[in-house]
Symmetry: C2
Subunit: 230 residues, 2 copies
């Protein structure tokens, strides 16, 4: 009756000498940041730590388990403020931006959102904080969960394709004009899409995305607020 997540299993009895689990996870995150999800192999990670590949299996039952740990470490970088001070909208907004930034900083984590459950302590801490924010806002019962899920969905849903686009198109930098021409060809049969391509949205992707994110976030918050007043 063993579950597939690390977090639902009894942790390994402690013991401090030799390598530690944190050290391994830290090195894994570093490697993931540098070389991406495909760049992480047990052999490479072992080499980086001056250890044999299979030594790591003492600390970690499986590679997926290691990824779960690394994934939760990413959640640990997200910062949540107290909603009592700044009001729930600002608190939620700041948390949303923090989540986005963290994922952009660790692009590989975007892939894991769809693959691993977020049950680690850091994920718990963030979700807990967000729930508190929505309670302060006035949500009660199940709607607290719904609001939390909704906002998390928005942030991840917006950020994941952002990362996807960067990693696919950014691997080898292309001439922007050439890229735009290629996309134009793909969109040729779809008038709406074509119009979208022709707009200036391609000029400075960075700020356009930021604007887009804020637009959606604002909408989201407005929509949630409306649930409270009626």
């Amino acid at each position: 009756m063993q579950f597939t997540s690390v977090w639902l299993r009894e942790p390994r009895r402690s013991g401090s000498p030799g390598r530690s689990r944190d050290e391994i996870v830290g090195a894994a995150v570093e490697l993931l940041d540098r070389e991406g999800l495909d760049g992480l192999s047990m052999r490479k990670l072992g080499a980086k730590l001056g250890a044999g590949a299979t030594s790591l299996y003492w600390y970690v039952a499986t590679k997926d388990e290691l990824l779960e740990l690394a994934y939760d470490q990413v959640w640990g970088e997200m910062t949540a403020h107290d909603p009592d001070g700044v009001g729930w909208r600002d608190a939620v907004s700041a948390l949303a931006h923090s989540m986005r930034q963290v994922i952009l900083r660790h692009p590989w984590s975007a892939d894991l959102i769809g693959r691993l459950p977020a049950l680690g302590p850091n994920a718990m801490r963030v979700s807990d904080a967000m729930r508190r924010m929505f309670k302060v806002a006035g949500f009660t019962g199940t709607t607290v969960d719904f609001a939390t899920a909704t906002l998390t969905a928005y942030v991840f849903g917006m950020t994941i394709p952002e990362v996807a686009w960067d990693t696919t198109m950014g691997e080898a930098q292309h001439d922007p004009d050439e890229l735009r021409a290629a996309v134009r060809k793909v969109a040729a049969d779809y008038p709406e899409m074509l119009e979208s391509v022709e707009m200036d949205a391609y000029e400075d992707p960075r700020t356009v995305r930021e604007l887009c994110f804020d637009f959606g976030l604002l909408s989201m918050l407005d929509g949630l607020e409306r649930r409270l007043t009626t």
Copy 2:
């Protein structure tokens, strides 16, 4: 100056005899539905088609390219109605539900959202239709794109973790009570999360999720509508 997406490359000169590309992609989707993303290997797919593994490389440059094609075929199952008849809110809402259902039907596609750009003709068609809906609603210029991105983000962001949870927890069915107990332990230090676990949200996950999705969708639409009136 080659791009990494199939859609940005010149298609292979036609020629119909022997196997066809559609046949291969169809078989791939079938295999993916049955065995998941890890269940698809070129050798298995070749065997399924009565062909050698490497024969497929005539029709497809790489496995990722095959996945791009399969991914777009999934987009092809999403249905969009004309917003002029039913009004933009109903049209968008129906499309959102369709998108969710399609992904739930092809869980492996959830993984690909974060890995491949959606540049295929079917993805184009869906995005095009959604843009038209928001134009009917009254959006103009860049905000059409923003609204489209926002709604797509919500739908994917909500559905991806749904799939993730199912695949991790559903592989081996567990006693729900036991699972709840395990989760309770993980949430022990986080009062908000604990409260969430203790609620009845675990009784019938299916309908709860549906409710949650509709809650968020409603919020999203309200929030977007608000952008129009002010």
